[in-house]
Amino acid sequence: MVEDVRDSSSAQGRHITLTLPMAADMELTASKTACALGEHIRMSADKVDEVRMAVVEACINAFEHSKAENEQVRIDFRVLGDESEPDGLEIAVRDSGVGFMPDQVAEPAIEEKLKSNRKRGWGLKIIGGLMDEVNIESDEHGTVVTMRKMR
């Protein structure tokens, strides 16, 4: 009757895992969870807010572009450094969708966007600007955007 949670792949290491359906506004749930963890490690309110926005962007990218059949996003949160003296947060937003080639994504420029029909294309740039470190791994099995923000 009681399912054993030890089987879960999130059981390795002491971290927090959130699994979300790809549905409207679910990015806000992810963002709130990130906020709780930022406050937990006493990150400044402004930095917490930057993390929240980056998480929102990574989630909506997965929702919009991944085409993942399971329609789920998994987010792994990890506190960096000592439990007693945390250095920051690492957040990995993961989908099992079609993937993409980050190198092939053109850097957006406002002058062009103002004239172009396609105003979109800012998510990755915003994530990069708000977080301290960003790493993207992507292949035909899906995408993981790993982001770090120090305290």
Binding site: P108, I110, K113, W122, G129
Partner: protein, 116 residues
């Protein structure tokens, strides 16, 4: 399901102010655009977006704001912002938006700079 964004239109010393309340996502951006185009159709050339009631935005919402800036520049008008959270202001700077839209700390500062 979450509460959708609301936009209220105010006039202050001849300046038209759009005050938002809520999340600027796709729908939120569309709602702002709808109200902004209504004002432009009524002859307004300068609009101030007061985001005091908006604590969170996403890039889809912002790209709709870029559309408004484009439209308003075509008629030699101006879109300005005030009361941005530090993160929203930082995001606008990351995007280079600040070059094309005035950013003011509050309505009074915007009115002083923009009102006819």
């Amino acid at each position: 399901m979450t509460e959708t964004l609301k936009v209220a239109v105010h006039e202050r010393d001849g300046l038209t102010i759009l005050r938002t309340e809520g999340y600027i996502n796709n729908q939120g951006g569309e709602e702002i655009a709808r109200v902004a185009y209504e004002q432009i159709d009524q002859g307004r050339r300068v609009l101030l977006l007061d985001l005091a009631g908006t604590k969170i935005v996403n890039s889809i919402g912002i790209s709709i704001l870029i559309e408004i800036i484009e439209k308003i520049m075509e008629i030699d008008g101006k879109l300005a912002f005030c009361c941005l959270t530090p993160t929203i202001e930082k995001t606008f700077n990351i995007m280079g938006l600040a070059q094309y839209a005035g950013i003011y700390p509050d309505e009074s500062a915007a009115v002083a700079a923009l009102a006819a």
